[in-house]
Subunit: 224 residues, 2 copies
């Protein structure tokens, strides 16, 4: 528990969230820190992908994690096992993270020492999409068991995402999920969306995701 | 499309939602209509369970459905194939259904001719739990692929539910989901919770769920 900083949110939502998010993004860019916002339904596999991503990149980049949860700290404890700095943001009922919460969480981190901060948002396919967190890029997970109709039913998430990850691809034989159909439905909302079908269990498809992410990271710690 | 009534929500959330929900519940009880509120994450299998439930009970009870969605009408169209009255409640961004929305939806239905109305709430494990819809009972779905840690992370949903359905049980071999552990975690929040592990694909476990539900239905249309 000592490895995890805990922040309880009990603030009002700011009227100018978009303005604060822009200022936060500028400040992070100046510090050469890339902030990724990872979103998706409960159980979509956000934590599993986060762990795989850290394991793959931890020797090349300095990474920290912000874990947002309504309650509980189970994910933060799992992530802390990888010896990366973790901030637990307990939203106290809020179904999203906004820029004000992100800023509070970042205050606990030594930004100068970091290349990448991954924000694992609250598990929810609706509310997190409504709030700019200040992240440079948004990644949304849609797991195969959830079904390929979700872009039709939760359009905002697929509109605000820069990257769309189809997770649990190792289970595709068991479910009625068509990657082409899901991709078309999401790209109808957002033509520029980058799509990554992958499995955090088998690591299939993981390299493309890592290539996309690392292209945004300005320096490679081992090459300096 | 003619078979489905569409209601667009553009109301303020009422301050006295709890009071309105109580009055709605009283009115439904007087009309001998049982209202069930079905909640769960996107892709947890709410629509599949709804379809199976209607197929099993349609010859004994008069059933109608309220389909709540942020956008789209795909579920309503699927349900309407079963020739039951369907009201589509389009929440226009709202991540939940409240009693005011339920009341609006019920106005489109002939309550005198109904025994059971099933409200399929917005796919979300957070927000719908915060709003009393006026339903007599709340059922929450947790699908096996989502993982057995969800009661720890989204406690309110498991606290307000009367019935907890573990769905997609036919896939349990592929996922790290322990029914006993999930049940213990949920019952720690809510000792009276009724638990139903089932699969809408294979129909395993469906009878217990149907027995629980039909026990609340006051009359059996074929026996009158």
């Amino acid at each position: 528990m000592d490895r995890i900083r805990l922040i309880d949110v009990n603030e009002e939502i700011l009227a100018d969230n978009a303005g604060l998010a822009d200022r936060l993004r500028d400040r992070l860019a100046q510090e050469n820190v890339f902030l990724l916002n990872l979103m998706g339904s409960p159980g979509a596999g956000k934590t599993s992908l986060l762990l795989k991503t850290i394991e793959a990149l931890n020797d090349r980049f300095n990474i920290a994690v912000i874990e947002a949860d309504i309650d509980a700290m189970v994910d933060a404890e799992t992530v802390a096992e990888l010896n990366v700095p973790v901030v637990q943001l307990r939203t106290g009922g809020f179904c999203h993270v906004d820029a004000n919460m992100t800023e509070k969480a970042l205050e606990s981190l030594d930004l100068e020492a970091l290349d990448l901060v991954i924000l694992e948002n609250v598990g929810n396919l609706v509310c997190p999409a409504e709030f700019d967190t200040g992240a440079m890029k948004n990644a949304a997970l849609l797991s195969v068991p959830e079904g390929d109709d979700k872009p039709l039913k939760y359009p905002l998430m697929f509109t605000v995402a820069d990257a769309l990850i189809f997770s649990k691809m190792d289970c595709i034989e068991m479910f009625d999920f068509d990657v082409t159909r899901a991709t078309e439905r999401a790209r109808a909302l957002n033509p520029d969306l980058q799509v990554f079908p992958l499995s955090s269990s088998t690591s299939q498809g993981l390299d493309s995701w890592l290539d996309w992410l690392t292209a945004f990271l300005s320096h490679d710690s081992t090459c300096e």
